[in-house]
């Protein structure tokens, strides 16, 4: 030990010294003005917590479903590791969470710009799918070599933000034909998706569009017409689009004894309220897509219907949390973009659960964050990152009337409303 000359001062404890070195007390504290700290205090941490809860449930669920799929895809020459999909899910989460956090740190204008650029990119890729895409299980949805992605998965969140941006023009200039423009955009995507065929994604895109024009303030008359149009479209699809005919027939008239819907129902109900216990499921091995479309049923068998209810409630908590906070939001673009993203996430979750519960014809749609998704996990994280970025707000803004008036006028960075206003008033 080196000799210490100043014996008069009481020596600082090593722990305190270390803490000071790390500047822990100041870090992320309310006085911390660093970019990271501002992000942390502006972030909807409750929402982020719910997302992490979903990811955790997803990991457990994929671990439960993985052996069923691994066994189905094993053959005499290769035996897949029973937990293969669990490990893969873990890897995609490790890649996806940083993407989500990075996107959530973007300022609102940059997040919007990113979404619009990505929307153009993935729309282009979607156009390429019929030309250079690869087929899996009879549907041509994938693109790429080695690492394949579904452009439609990535398009969903950025489409929601872009559509909100287009519709928000109306607030600036009421004469712009935004509804017509949005219809063309949605219609183009819809036709491309039906060609794949991908009925589930088509419904999600149309759902986002419908919710956004609802928010855009269209008259009740036009909304009524579009609801009628949607129903008419479904009827037309039933009669002229074979995929829809088959799916809806199965749903209404019941499938065969060996239909996947029947297998899913047996799996879901075989565990009762409290389930058979982790790893004790037997019916799951009969499911064709245990780790993706029917993971909700696997949760039902092993963890019980109460756990299923828990998953549904977490999804609703996310939806409610986001939408309730929008009620005191004043920027139309933010309201629409956030609602669009929530519709995408919540709608997909509700449809997937409804399919598992036989309330909806089977769709080929995954349960966000719960199902094994592969590369679409990155798309999901991108969407959630956008959601987190757009729901960030200065926690002090609404607390003092002074701040409300003052900061808004001055265009303080980090305050979304002011940034928007100052730009437009020029």
């Amino acid at each position: 030990m080196a000799s210490a000359p100043e014996h008069t001062i009481a020596p600082e404890s090593p722990v305190l010294k270390y803490k000071r070195k790390l500047n822990l007390s100041g870090r992320l504290g309310r006085s911390d003005r660093s970019h990271l700290a501002v992000w942390f205090w502006e972030l909807d941490r409750v929402l982020l917590t719910f997302i992490f809860v979903l990811m955790a449930i997803g990991l457990i669920a994929v671990a439960a479903a993985s052996p069923a799929t691994a066994q189905r895809l094993s053959d005499t020459t290769t035996t897949l590791n029973p937990l293969l999909y669990f490990y893969k899910q873990l890897v995609w989460l490790i890649l996806g969470v940083p993407v989500m956090l990075f996107v959530s740190m973007l300022p609102k204008t940059q997040a919007r710009r990113l979404a619009i650029i990505l929307c153009a990119v993935f729309l282009f890729l979607l156009l390429l799918v019929p030309l250079i895409g690869t087929s899996v299980n009879g549907a041509r949805r994938w693109i790429g070599y080695g690492l394949t992605i579904q452009p439609s998965e990535f398009l969903k969140p950025v489409f929601a933000v872009t559509l909100a941006w287009v519709l928000s023009w109306k607030a600036k200039d009421a004469t712009m034909p935004v509804v017509g423009l949005s219809m063309i955009l949605t219609g183009t995507i819809g036709i491309l998706l039906m060609m794949q065929p991908n009925l589930g994604a088509t419904i999600i895109f149309c759902g986002i569009w419908f919710v956004l024009i609802l928010l855009a303030g269209l008259s009740a008359q036009i909304i009524g017409i579009s609801i009628a149009g949607g129903l008419g479209g479904l009827v037309l699809a039933y009669f002229f689009y074979p995929v829809a005919t088959q799916r809806i027939n199965t749903w209404i008239f019941g499938g065969g004894e060996y239909d996947q819907v029947a297998f899913a129902h047996r799996t879901l109900t075989s565990g009762g309220f409290i389930g058979k216990g982790p790893g004790m499921g037997t019916e799951k091995f009969k499911l064709p897509e245990a780790h993706t479309d029917y993971i909700f049923s696997v949760i039902g068998e092993e963890f019980g219907l109460l756990a299923c209810a828990g998953v549904a409630i977490v999804f609703f908590a996310i939806i409610a949390r986001v939408l309730m906070r929008l009620l005191d939001e004043e920027d139309v673009f933010t309201i629409m973009a956030v609602t669009g993203l929530t519709t995408q996430l919540g709608g997909q979750a509700i449809i997937n659960m409804a399919v598992n519960l036989q309330l909806f014809p089977s769709k080929g749609m995954t349960l966000p964050f719960i199902s094994y998704g592969g590369s679409s996990m990155i798309a999901l994280c991108l969407g959630t990152g956008l959601l987190l970025a757009l729901t960030r707000r200065n926690p002090y803004l609404n607390r003092s009337s002074y701040a409300k008036d003052g900061f808004q006028m001055n265009g303080q960075k980090g305050s979304h409303i002011s940034g928007q206003t100052s730009g437009e008033s020029k």
Partner: protein, 564 residues
């Protein structure tokens, strides 16, 4: 300051913005309400399922463990038939979305053994049908990857025979509805589907090790002699249990196709043959029993063929001299045996054959039991020809049961393919005197040690037996070129435990046997190779210091001078 510059137009724009925002917020509540409604519906459905449709089985033992049809095992518990869950491929024509022609081509690529037209036909039917059963996982995945919703992959219980062709004729197989078609699968149908006994496998009397040895030895010899078929049976003489039963060529009960159907006749229990000289010990036993032969040293004239009416009885191994009974058996003399039967009389001969059940289907569980060809008119000539195994046709199973009675002390028992517990054996009925049986043991042993059956003599196993080479009936007469060569044996002769019958259908002579195709050159060597393989498994230890005592009979065999 931007705020000041834009002050003029601001109130109007803000007004519009406020209005738009207000509408958006009101409708936001509507959207939230819709989501709440949807989630509530899901929750209600979940609780409905939990309350009314949940069938919880919280047991460590899955019902999957209990098979839908009881397993078949051998006497030591080795599985012979069991159930496996396998995927089938089913098509529901009305659900097919893709191009049927293209799908049929793709299926034909995955299953090269079936033409595309077969698949196309099934896809064009009105009703759902099976395209394949027993899909291997690779193929199931390939078909699944076609992405056609009109295909289903039901998991079904399939009967699986882990020993493949081994004991195929004993086991039989089941049809697509898992109903027994032949063999023990059919014979035990009720037992196998009895819900109370599903978990408990049905034990057969078969010992699969013995079965494998029998089939391999028979198969090798059948190939060597280019025979049409080969059959064999190993029977426990004290219980009537069949330890092995083979009818080659065999078939694979896992794959029933045209070849399998051609080979599924069980020649041991269903086909009847004129078994020739193997009947001679039966005639001798009947004569000893009746007392028409009291002195084994008595000689009978075998110098020339025996003329009865227009019928001439000849010897194949003619000795050209007078022969006593031991010599008649050792040299397989038709003439002497016919004379013994003639002395005995047709009533007593017929009675003996009836006691051995030669007038009815063999006594065994199998449905495939052939009716013997019983002489329509049992006259003097017939009586003499049946004494050496002509003019009557029975199954090899009949012969095995008769030989068991010959050597076990004279008790005839029905044969069985079900495992018999200790002391549960059928009491049977007496056919021969115990003293007759003891004498026959000596004679059978002498045939192997000194006679036509020498090629069956495995050192230390004390094998005894009788050859039989019968010409096959063809077009009203007998064919000189096609033989049925049989060897009926028992071991160990000092305390007989097992009867072994081996039979070759139309063996061809080869250089190794100097062109010979008679039983002594074809069927007997099978026994010589087989018994040392199965004896130790069955608890028969080779011992050259032990044998049945034939010293009192040995002097009766005349030997040329110089031969010891």
């Amino acid at each position: 300051m931007t705020a000041l510059v834009g002050n003029g137009g601001r109130p109007r724009l803000a007004n519009i913005k406020q209005k738009v925002t207000l509408v958006a917020q009101v409708r936001l509540i509507v959207v939230l309400g819709l989501f709440a409604l949807a989630i509530t519906t899901l929750l209600l459905r979940l609780f409905y399922y939990g309350a009314f449709e949940g069938q919880v089985q919280r047991s460590l033992v899955s019902t999957d463990v209990i098979p839908v049809r009881a397993d078949l095992v051998d006497r030591n518990g080795v599985p012979l038939a069991r159930n496996m869950k396998m995927r089938a491929l089913r098509v529901i024509p009305e659900k097919i979305l893709g191009d049927k022609n293209k799908l049929a081509m793709q299926l034909a690529e995955i299953f090269p053994d079936t033409p595309a037209s077969t698949f196309l036909k099934a896809m064009k039917k009105d009703r759902p049908s099976y395209l394949r059963r027993r899909l291997v996982p690779e193929d199931a995945n390939k078909v699944h990857a076609l992405g056609e919703v009109g295909f289903e992959f039901p998991r079904e219980d399939e009967r699986f025979y882990p020993q493949h062709g081994l004991a195929a004729h004993v086991l039989g197989y089941v049809d697509a509805d898992r109903k027994g078609v032949m063999g023990m699968e059919k014979a035990l149908e009720e037992r196998l589907v009895d819900p109370a006994k599903l978990a408990e496998p049905a034990a057969l009397s078969i010992d699969i090790r013995v079965q494998a040895a029998l089939e391999s030895e028979l198969g090798a010899t059948m190939k060597k002699h280019s025979a049409r078929g080969a059959t064999g049976v190993v029977l426990d003489v004290h219980t009537g249990e069949v330890l092995a039963m083979a009818s080659l060529p065999e078939f694979n009960p896992n794959k029933i196709d045209a070849t399998a159907l051609r080979h599924q006749v069980n020649d041991v229990t269903y086909s009847v043959y004129e078994l020739g000289s193997t009947f001679k010990p039966l005639t001798v036993a009947a004569a000893l029993d009746a007392g028409t032969v009291t002195n084994l040293a008595t000689r009978y004239n075998a110098t020339e063929p025996l003329k009865v009416g227009r019928f001439r009885i000849k010897d194949d191994h003619a000795q050209g001299r007078y022969l006593n009974v031991p010599e008649a058996l050792v040299h397989s003399s038709n003439i002497v045996t016919a004379r013994l039967a003639d002395n005995l009389g047709k009533e007593r001969m017929e009675e003996m054959f009836r006691k051995l059940d030669f007038d009815d289907r063999p006594e065994i569980e199998l449905v495939e039991a052939g009716r013997p060809l019983w002489p329509q008119n049992w006259g003097r000539v017939t009586n003499m020809t049946v004494s050496y195994g002509h003019g009557i046709a029975v199954t090899p199973m009949h012969l095995a049961s008769a030989y068991a009675a010959l050597v076990n002390g004279g008790i005839w028992r029905p044969a069985t393919l079900e495992k018999v517990g200790p002391d549960k054996a059928d009491p049977g009925r007496r056919v021969f005197k115990a003293s007759t049986s003891a004498r026959i043991r000596q004679l059978l042993r002498m045939i192997v040690s000194d006679g036509t059956g020498r090629k069956a003599d495995a050192p230390g196993f004390r094998i005894g037996g009788k050859t039989g080479s019968a010409e096959k009936p063809k077009g009203g007469g007998y064919s000189k070129s096609s033989l049925v060569s049989t060897f009926a044996a028992a071991f160990p002769m000092d305390d007989p435990k097992y009867v072994v019958i081996t039979m070759l259908d139309e063996p061809k002579g080869i250089a190794e046997t100097f062109g010979q195709r008679t039983a002594g050159w074809t069927a007997a060597p099978v026994v010589k190779r087989l018994v040392p393989r199965i004896g130790p498994m069955l608890g028969v230890v080779p011992d050259e210091s032990r044998d049945v005592d034939v010293s009192e009979l040995t002097p009766l065999l005349w030997r040329p001078k110089g031969e010891s």
